[in-house]
Symmetry: C2
Subunit: 346 residues, 2 copies
C-alpha cells in the first residue's frame, strides 16, 4: 500500500500494455460499440483494467469523440424547494440516459446567468437547461439569447423551463390559467376581498400569475385594490417582508392574501403568526407551486400544483428528443388547484 502520494491515473495505454494487446483493442473492449473483439482478449483487457484500477478519462473521450455526456443546469437558488425539486427531476432523467449533470446558480441575477451560460459553454454540454423566471426589460436578455443561439448553432440543445417567448424549446407552466383557476376556486369558497403579494414587476412569472388571478376575480366582478398589491423578493423573506408591509396598512378589510409563490406565501404566514394574526381565522392565504412543504405548514397551504420534478424530467427528454432541433418546441404542463386548510370554505 505504498502508492506514491500523487501517481497519475492508469491510462488506456497502460491497460493495453498490461494486457498485451494494442491500444485499439483495449479501447474496443472497454467501450467499443459492438462486440468486435475476441472474447479472450476482451477478458484479458477487463482483468488488466481492474488490476490497474483503470477509469476512463471522460475529458479525453470527449475530445476524441467530439461530444460529451453532460447536462448543464442553471437554477436561481438550489436551496429553494422549487428549484431543488426541478433539479431532482433533471438529475433523475439525466442519469437514466447515462448523462452527468453539472449545476450552477444564478442567484436570480440575469447578468450572472449570462456569465454562467458563457462559462458553461466551455463544457460543451449536450444539453443546457435554464430554469427561473425570465425578466424582461433587462439588457442582458438579448446577449443571453445570442449566447444560447451560438451554443445551439454548434449542436447544443437548449431548453428553458418557465414561460415561452424566447426562441428555444420550452417547458411551459401555464401560470396565467393556474392563477385564474385558483381565483375562481377561492371565490367559490366564499372569499371576496383579496390582497396579493407579488415579485418584481419585471418577473414574467409573477406578472402572469397576478394577471391570471386578477382576471379570475374579474369574472366575478371582483378587483384587488392597488394598495393591496405589495411586492417583494421572490423568496421566503420577500414574502415575510411583503406581509409585514400589508399588516402595516391594516388587513381588516381583507379575506385572503394570494402570494405568487408558495415560498413567499409561507414567509407571509410566518409574518402573520409572529404578528399574532391567525391563519385562516383572521386571514386566509394561498400560494402557487405546491412545493413539498406546502402540505406541512399549518394550516396546510392552498396552492396551485405544478409537477416540479416532472418539469425537470420533461426538460431533459425534450432536449434529447429530435423535437428540440426545431428550437421552438413547447411542452405545456398542467396545473391543478389544491384547496387546503389555509383557505377553508367560508
Amino acid at each position: 500500500m505504498a502508492a506514491s502520494p500523487t501517481a497519475s491515473p492508469a491510462t488506456l495505454h497502460d491497460v493495453a500494455r498490461e494486457a498485451g494487446v494494442s491500444l485499439a483493442t483495449a479501447s474496443r473492449s472497454l467501450n467499443g460499440s459492438t462486440r468486435k473483439v475476441n472474447d479472450e482478449y476482451r477478458q484479458r483487457v477487463l482483468a488488466a483494467a481492474a488490476r490497474l484500477n483503470y477509469s476512463p478519462n471522460f475529458s479525453a473521450q470527449a475530445v476524441a469523440k467530439g461530444s460529451t455526456s453532460t447536462v448543464a443546469l442553471l437554477v436561481s437558488d438550489i436551496a429553494d424547494p422549487y428549484f431543488s425539486s426541478i433539479a431532482a427531476g433533471v438529475i433523475r432523467a439525466a442519469e437514466t440516459q447515462g448523462l452527468i449533470v453539472t449545476m450552477a446558480v444564478t442567484e436570480r441575477s440575469t447578468e450572472r446567468e449570462l456569465e454562467l451560460v458563457r462559462a458553461l459553454r466551455g463544457q460543451r454540454p449536450r444539453v443546457m437547461i435554464l430554469t427561473g423566471s425570465r425578466s424582461d426589460g433587462s439588457e442582458s436578455q438579448a446577449a443571453l439569447v445570442a449566447e444560447l443561439k451560438a451554443f445551439a448553432a454548434t449542436g447544443g440543445r437548449v431548453v428553458l423551463i418557465s414561460q415561452e417567448g424566447l426562441p428555444f424549446s420550452t417547458v411551459v407552466v401555464d401560470n396565467y390559467l393556474g392563477a385564474r383557476a385558483l381565483a375562481n376556486s377561492l371565490v367559490g369558497q366564499g372569499y371576496r376581498r383579496f390582497a396579493a403579494i407579488g415579485g418584481a414587476r419585471t418577473l414574467v412569472t409573477s406578472r402572469d400569475r397576478l394577471a391570471g388571478f386578477a382576471d379570475g376575480l374579474a369574472e366575478h366582478g371582483i378587483a384587488i385594490h392597488p394598495d393591496h398589491i405589495v411586492r417583494g423578493e421572490f423568496t421566503r423573506d420577500g414574502g415575510f417582508a411583503a406581509a409585514t408591509e400589508l399588516l402595516a396598512d391594516g388587513i381588516g378589510q381583507i379575506d385572503l392574501v394570494f402570494a405568487v409563490s408558495d415560498v413567499m406565501a409561507i414567509g407571509a404566514m410566518s409574518a402573520f403568526r409572529e404578528a399574532g394574526i391567525v391563519v385562516p381565522r383572521d386571514i386566509a392565504v394561498a400560494g402557487f407551486d405546491d412545493i413539498d412543504t406546502a402540505r406541512d405548514v399549518t394550516p396546510a397551504l392552498t396552492t396551485v400544483h405544478i409537477p416540479l420534478a416532472d418539469l425537470g424530467q420533461q426538460a431533459v427528454e425534450l432536449a434529447l428528443s429530435d423535437a428540440a432541433l426545431s428550437s421552438d418546441e413547447v411542452i405545456r404542463v398542467e396545473t391543478r388547484v389544491v384547496l387546503r386548510a389555509s383557505s377553508p370554505q367560508l
Copy 2:
C-alpha cells in the same frame, strides 16, 4: 442568420488563423497565465475570438493540462432541504474558486453511491465530496473506501460530510453532543416523558443523535421506554409513518417526541395534525438540523442548529487546502440548540 444546423464550435486554431497569429499566441492571450503577449496581438486575438464566438473547450484543456476544474458532489436527495442547503454552500464556494460543480444523487443507497463514485472518477474531478450519513454493516463500504482511495492516490481530494470513521478528511457534525444538549434543554423546559423517532439502525447519524439524546436524558435520570422509540425512513414520509405508529400505541403518557431530523419531525407534525393532535398542547416536538422551514412550520420547530451551507463551503475549502493531503483532517462544526414554540416551557 443562416448558420448550418450543426456547425462545429470555433477552435483555438480558428481564432489564431482569424487573428493572423500562432496557436500559442492565441492560447496565451485567451488564457495564458501572465501578460506575456504584445498588447496589439492580444487585442487582435480577443477580437477574433469574439467575432467567432469562441469558447474554450474545457475537455481539451483538461487533457492538455492533466487536470480539471470540477468538483463532484454526491448527495442522497437534492430535493431534501438538508442536502440542498449543503449543496448551495458547495456551489457557492466552488464558484468563487472558478470550479464547476457536478452533482449526482445516491437515493440513499450505498450501492448506488459506489457506482456513482466509480463513474464520477472518470471526470477526474479535483474534489469529490460525499454527503449523507454513513451506514455501517454494508458490504459496499469497503469497496467504497477502496474506490475513494484509488481516486485519492491519483491526486484526487476526497472530503466527507457527516461523521468521522472513514480514512478521509471530513467535516463532522457533532450529532451526539448536539442531541445531548437538546435533551438537557428540553428537560430544562419541564419535559419528562419522551418518545423518539429514528432512522434505520445502521444509519450512524440517527444512532448518534439517539444516543446523545438518551444520554442527555439519563443525566437527569430519565429514560425513553424502548416501545417509545419508533423508526422510519430518513424522510418526511418516514417521520409521518413513524408518528402514526406512535399514535397507534397511544401517546397519552408522552410529553415530547424527538425526531432525529427536522424533515422527519415535520412529517410527524403533519401526522399529528391530521390525527387531530395539537402540537404543542397535546404533545411537543423537537427535531434536528434547523432546515429553513423549521421556523416556518406552526408551531415553529425546536431543533439543533447546523450551519448547513457552511458545511458545504468548508468541505470545499478543506478539500482545496493542503490539509486535505493528510487524508484525515477533521473539521468539527458547532451545533446549537434552538428552542422554539413546538416545545414551550411547561
